[in-house]
């Protein structure tokens, strides 16, 4: 690699990560309880003014949740897109989002508290993903990818049916609004514990995907190429799928169902850093984090009642995705 493209390869992903962190500071420095960046940095190491500490304590968890979820959804989306060699693969390919929605809805129906709802959503998402993987393992299909996509659709459909049932039996004045609100997605309910509770599994999943790096590139060539290049293709594919499902599940458990980030992040990243997994995944995660940050900032920007981020991400993400697609197709 010539020095220029080597520089580009390392600088671009690093730059995107820094941009996401700078964006977080910028969000804290504007809006309610605004504090200057230097006061915020001082507060982070415990030497800040009381106002800055208050801003950090009240707005920090929500910000952390937005960054974590945006990064998780975009990273998982990039992982799935590489593994399935399909630019339309999204983080809920294995039915994880629907499963998490069902888990949360059931917990809300039973009157559980916030922490329990998050836990139920996490377990529901992982259960749907595990169901899809197990069904795919049962098939003796020649094409592993097709089996996984079909089983993901089946797991997602089952979870959606269950969710529909919960919505029908839910008490329309007290329970239904909270279930609907949960399903539309929001970072509002995140406390510090919940945000950190998501950060840990997301970090684990992202670590696995980033470590897989060039191995993901090989898996994208198909199992036969991977095996003839000496990789244990099936276990590695399973590991990557599990890591991506873990990331999606943790994000959905905190934020509810927030679409489009997982599709938009990887596509935008691909335009900037190219297709190589080792660069694409960190870049996609940074862009997803920035996008989540922006839509969360917009959610509170128009008056006292918040717009659900799930709605905003679709309203902004869908046209942005179309623009990206047009830009990419014109370039090639």
């Amino acid at each position: 690699m010539d020095p220029l493209s080597r520089l580009r390869a390392t600088l671009l992903p690093t730059g995107l990560v820094l941009l996401a962190l700078a964006g977080a500071l910028a969000v804290l420095a504007t809006g309610p309880l605004a504090a200057t960046p230097d006061a915020l940095l001082a507060a982070m190491i415990g030497r800040g003014a009381p106002e800055a500490e208050l801003a950090l304590a009240l707005r920090g968890p929500r910000l952390l949740a937005a960054l974590t979820c945006g990064a998780a959804l975009a990273g998982a989306g990039a992982g799935f897109q590489i593994l399935f060699r399909n630019p339309l693969a999204s983080p809920d390919l294995l039915g994880v989002s629907s499963g998490a929605g069902l888990g949360a809805a059931v917990a809300l129906l039973l009157g559980a508290g916030a922490a329990l709802v998050q836990g139920a959503a996490f377990v529901g998402g992982l259960a749907a993903g595990a169901l899809a993987l197990a069904c795919a393992a049962l098939t003796r299909s020649g094409d592993d990818r097709l089996a996984l996509i079909l089983c993901g659709i089946v797991a997602g459909a089952l979870a959606s049916a269950g969710l529909g049932l919960v919505v029908v039996v839910a008490e329309p004045y007290s329970q239904l609004p909270s279930i609907t609100y949960w399903l539309l997605g929001s970072f509002t309910r995140a406390t510090l514990t919940e945000a950190v509770g998501a950060l840990v599994p997301v970090g684990l999943g992202a670590g696995v995907l980033i470590w897989l790096g060039f191995r993901l590139d090989i898996l994208s060539l198909g199992d036969e190429q991977a095996r003839s290049l000496g990789l244990p293709a099936r276990p590695m594919r399973l590991l990557a799928l599990a890591a991506a499902a873990l990331m999606t599940s943790s994000a959905v458990a905190v934020a509810g169902v927030v679409g489009w980030i997982g599709l938009l992040g990887p596509h935008a990243a691909r335009l900037i850093v190219g297709e190589q997994a080792g660069r694409l995944i960190p870049a996609a995660m940074s862009i997803g984090a920035i996008f989540a940050l922006v839509i969360d900032r917009l959610a509170t920007a128009f008056g006292p009642s918040e717009i659900p981020v799930g709605l905003l991400s679709a309203a902004i993400g869908a046209p942005a995705f179309l623009m990206l697609f047009v830009a990419t197709s014109r370039r090639s």
Partner: protein, 235 residues
Amino acid sequence: MSGLRLEGLVAGRRGFRLPPLDLTVAPGEVLALIGPNGAGKTTLLKTLAGLLPPMAGTVVHAGAPAWLPPPGAVSAGFSTLHLTALGRAPLRRWSPGLTAEDIGTARAALARLDVDDLADRPFNRLSSGQQQLVLIARLFVQDAPVCLLDEPLALLDPAHARAVETAIRALAAEGRIVVASTHHLPFAARCDRVLAISPDGMEVEPPVRALTPDRVRALFGVEVTGCPCCGQALG
């Protein structure tokens, strides 16, 4: 390297079995695999590569073999140089990533086949002929003792076919075993031995005996004076 040894090997998949095969291939040898479509060339190659389990018998080789599908079957959006460097994956199975040395080896292999100017282009944007040369460069990088090539000359124009054949010769000249299926009989005629697969059985012979007009007619069921795929004279 001690070569490739097949002992009573029965290759096949559900509903399809080839007759048992006993064969030893020496290091440096290029073995051509010929026969009509559906005779079992790809099945045999995949069994040798360990991608399909043998139905009976054993395959003994000096080390993990490398396998290439026909031209156009590999699709990758990342750079040609990165794809070539992935040939080092068997050495880097559990390491954090590819090293600068791997990239250097890949670049040298591309230069050796005179395709280093393609290094930074996305692999998908190359022509079939360029892609095939790059994949053979990856075989040099992978440095497997046995290279199994499924129709390495299919879809290629005469110039690229010649370049690929030269590269295949170079792979063998360094002591590797090359087994390549082909419909291009002039190539088979220049290989060291020919394994003809037909529904009636398998035979391994030197090209002069395997490619006589009578044998070609019996194998493919067509009356030709030259190569059944392009009319080129044999030998």
